[in-house]
Symmetry: C2
Subunit: 224 residues, 2 copies
Amino acid sequence: MPSPDPTPDAVLSARERLVEAAFGLFDEHGFDETTVEDIAARAGVGRTTFFRHYRSKEAVIFPVHDELLEAIAARLEAAAPSTRDLAVVEAARIVLRHYLSEGERARQRYRLITSVPSLRDREMAGLRQYQRLFAAALVSRWPGDPEAELRADLMSSAVVAAHNHVLRRWLRGAPIDAETELDRAMTMVIDQASKGHAATSVVVVQSARSPENVAERVRQALAD
Amino acid sequence: MPSPDPTPDAVLSARERLVEAAFGLFDEHGFDETTVEDIAARAGVGRTTFFRHYRSKEAVIFPVHDELLEAIAARLEAAAPSTRDLAVVEAARIVLRHYLSEGERARQRYRLITSVPSLRDREMAGLRQYQRLFAAALVSRWPGDPEAELRADLMSSAVVAAHNHVLRRWLRGAPIDAETELDRAMTMVIDQASKGHAATSVVVVQSARSPENVAERVRQALAD
DNA sequence: GATGGACGTGGTACTCAGTACCGTACTTGC
DNA sequence: GCAAGTACGGTACTGAGTACCACGTCCATC
């Protein structure tokens, strides 16, 4: 298989070389057994340079986390209050698509995270940031409801949980169409979140699905 | 106000003295500015002894986390499969009650956690453990449902979110009856989780509420 | 073509969390 | 008295993360 990355090894930036070196060494010797000095040495830079590019040894595993957060925040802020829940679903899709586009690198990171407790913690901390953004965007979904904050907390955590459920299945290697699964999961989330407040709401996420596909999901939503 | 803790200072165990010293120093100088050596010195023990009692500087903030996890696991395992969702709610109540019984100490910890990123991460990591226990106990709630795992993930994250919503309001000093609030929040969680699978389910949590209180909640549940 | 600033880099030295190991006191049971 | 267990203190070490300084390169300006 030809490399999807056409960049020759020699001209990789120090930033990229550090990531390559880190993943390689973590794979070969484990996370705890690899020192920052080892990573820097393999990347051909000094230890100082490592910390100039990545705040910590863990951070080199999650290189674009901040960019994802910014993209999500931008997507949420751009949405009108009435379409905030659609925006949240779209934001989750942004994250999912990012991981899908990473391919094997994402699965490599997943194997690492599941086997190193400190990395699990770090990942959870990242999820919390997503969830906070979602919750802040969602309070306006139940205007006048005294429980709006609770509902926003519930729905934001559900969105994150649903996204993670689909992502993890894909990361574990399940042969699924992750985006379709995300649609199904998010339908369930929105469905549950709407209970006890408004009538059944049908939300069709803008995507390249076939009309039959859309119709089927509408039928499911109305079935309750 | 008389001290709720009748134990004289002199006979506090080293374990307890370390906690007291840690919270005191964190309050006075901040978490990052306090070294483990400072804590040990104030507690009148050596640095080694600190690490013998608590695995890390963060761990001294969450002294009974493991015990809570065990209590929850025991509560969940003791429940028959058909009453697992009730058990999960009760497990959340165990955690809430623990914090309520801590009183000012819990609020002190909350102030600390909200102001120190590394402690926030640690707390999130703890929540994840609760959530995993809940999810494992809940899969059997939707027998035969191909989406049972997703539903369990959604509901377990909702239980944690609802618990945290109530707990945080109380921690911030809101004058609420936290257990009643938890009942209301959990009713909403169960209600949402039941959507699209079974008919409206009414779950009355075993508690010392008045019949009128129970009746009101039943009325709310049936209103949808 | 020299000057000077911005920037990326490497090196050194430091603090502090966490671990390993060893020696010592103080109990408890025989 | 003695032996085993337990709690503790001290020392020395590794490694992450920070602070600081010194050096080279690339440019823009005069």
